[in-house]
Amino acid sequence: MSESKNNKKNWPLWEVFVRSKNGLEHRHFGSLHAADAEMALENARDVYTRRNEGVSIWVVESKNITASNPKDNGELFEPASDKVYRHPTFYDLPDEVKHM
C-alpha cells in the first residue's frame, strides 16, 4: 500500500541508455524520474546528452529490469574466477594481427 501511495507523489524511475557514437552499443548512463516513456526520453535528452554525449537514447522503466541478487554472487560468479583457460590467452598471435 505504501508503494502505491508513494507512486502518486513521485514519478517512476527510468534507466537511461545512450549510444555515444554510431557503431557503438548503447551504454547505461544513469537513471531519472518521469511520468511516462515520452517524458523519460525528453528528460534523458536534457539530463544526459546536454554535452553532446549521444546520438541515440533508450529508456526503460526500472521495474522492468530483472537483476541478479548480490546474495547469489558466490554461485553465479565465483566458479568462473579460477578458470583462466576460458580466456583466449594461450595462443601465440602473429604480429600482423592487431586489436586483439
Partner: protein, 259 residues
C-alpha cells in the same frame, strides 16, 4: 552609459533590429534562468535551464554582430547589461513573471511557436549573418516548442488542478500575444530592406499551431477584444525594472567585471 541609435552612425537601423529580436530571447532566458535550482523536479529544472542557455547563446550571436556593426563602440556585454529599461525592445510577453509552473510553461509555449515561425523566415534574410544565426537557432527552438507544447498537453489534459492552472496562465498571458506580430520602427525598416521578417504575415499560422495544441489539451482558446502592447517601443510592464535590477546587478556593482 547610454546606448542610443545616434551613437551607432550608419548601422543604427540594423542594430535596432538586432536588439528588437535578441531582447526577446534575452529576457525570456533570464526568466527561465530564475528556475535554476527551483524547478519542480531535478529533470525539469535542467530542461528549463538548458532552454535558458540556448536562448543566451542566440543572444550572444546577435549582440556580437551588433557590437561589430557598431564599429566596436560597444561590446556584447554593454548591450546585455548596461542599457536602461526603455532601451530594451522585447515584447511584454517574455518579461511576465513566472508566478507558478503553469505560467512558466504557458509563457514559453506562446513564445516558442512564434519564435519557430520567426526563425524559419529569418533563414531567408538577405543578411547572411542573420540567416546563419537563424539556421543554427531553429533546431534549438524546435525542441523548446516540443518541450513546452508537451507540457501544455500534460497540464491541460492532466488533473483538474493542473488544467485550471494552465488555463488561467494561458488566459492571463493571451493579451500579450498580439504584440508579437506588430512591427516596430526597426522591424518595418528591416522588412523594407529585406533583412528582416514580415512578422505580420506569421499570425495566422501561429494561431493555427497554438490552437491545435490547446484544443488537444482540452483547453479553451481565449477570445479577446483588447491586447497589451508597448515592450517593442520600450514601454514595459512594472515587472521589467525588477528583472533588470537582478540581471544587471553584477555589471552595475562591479563595472567592467569579467566572468
Amino acid at each position: 552609459m547610454s546606448l542610443k541609435k545616434h551613437d551607432f552612425r550608419e548601422n543604427g537601423d540594423k542594430i535596432d533590429y538586432l536588439l528588437t529580436i535578441a531582447d526577446n530571447s534575452l529576457i525570456l532566458g533570464q526568466r527561465m534562468g530564475e528556475l535554476t535550482g527551483h524547478g519542480p523536479t531535478l529533470e525539469v529544472d535542467i530542461a528549463c535551464t538548458n532552454i535558458a542557455l540556448d536562448l543566451f547563446g542566440q543572444v550572444r550571436s546577435y549582440f556580437q554582430y551588433a557590437a561589430q556593426l557598431s564599429g566596436k563602440s560597444c561590446t556584447e556585454d554593454d548591450l546585455a547589461f548596461l542599457r536602461t529599461e526603455r532601451e530594451y525592445k522585447n515584447v511584454l510577453l517574455v518579461e511576465q513573471p513566472n508566478t507558478n509552473f503553469a505560467y512558466v510553461i504557458a509563457k514559453q509555449f506562446l513564445f516558442d511557436h512564434y519564435h519557430f515561425l520567426f526563425l524559419n523566415e529569418l533563414q531567408k534574410s538577405n543578411d547572411t549573418t542573420l540567416s546563419a544565426i537563424a539556421k543554427k537557432s531553429i533546431k534549438e527552438v524546435s525542441y523548446h516548442k516540443r518541450f513546452s507544447s508537451d507540457w501544455v498537453l500534460r497540464l491541460g489534459d492532466g488533473t483538474t488542478t493542473s488544467k485550471e492552472k494552465i488555463q488561467k496562465a494561458i488566459n492571463d498571458l493571451w493579451p500579450f500575444t498580439q504584440e508579437l506580430f506588430e512591427p516596430n520602427e526597426a522591424e518595418e525598416k528591416a522588412i523594407e530592406l529585406g533583412y528582416g521578417v514580415d512578422i505580420s504575415k506569421l499570425q495566422e499560422e501561429y494561431k493555427r499551431a497554438v490552437e491545435k495544441v490547446l484544443i488537444e489539451a482540452t483547453l479553451e482558446v481565449p477570445v479577446l477584444e483588447f491586447y497589451q502592447r508597448g515592450g517593442k517601443k520600450g514601454v514595459h510592464s512594472e515587472h521589467m525594472g525588477y528583472l533588470l535590477s537582478d540581471m544587471q546587478y553584477m555589471q552595475r556593482t562591479y563595472p567592467g567585471m569579467k566572468w
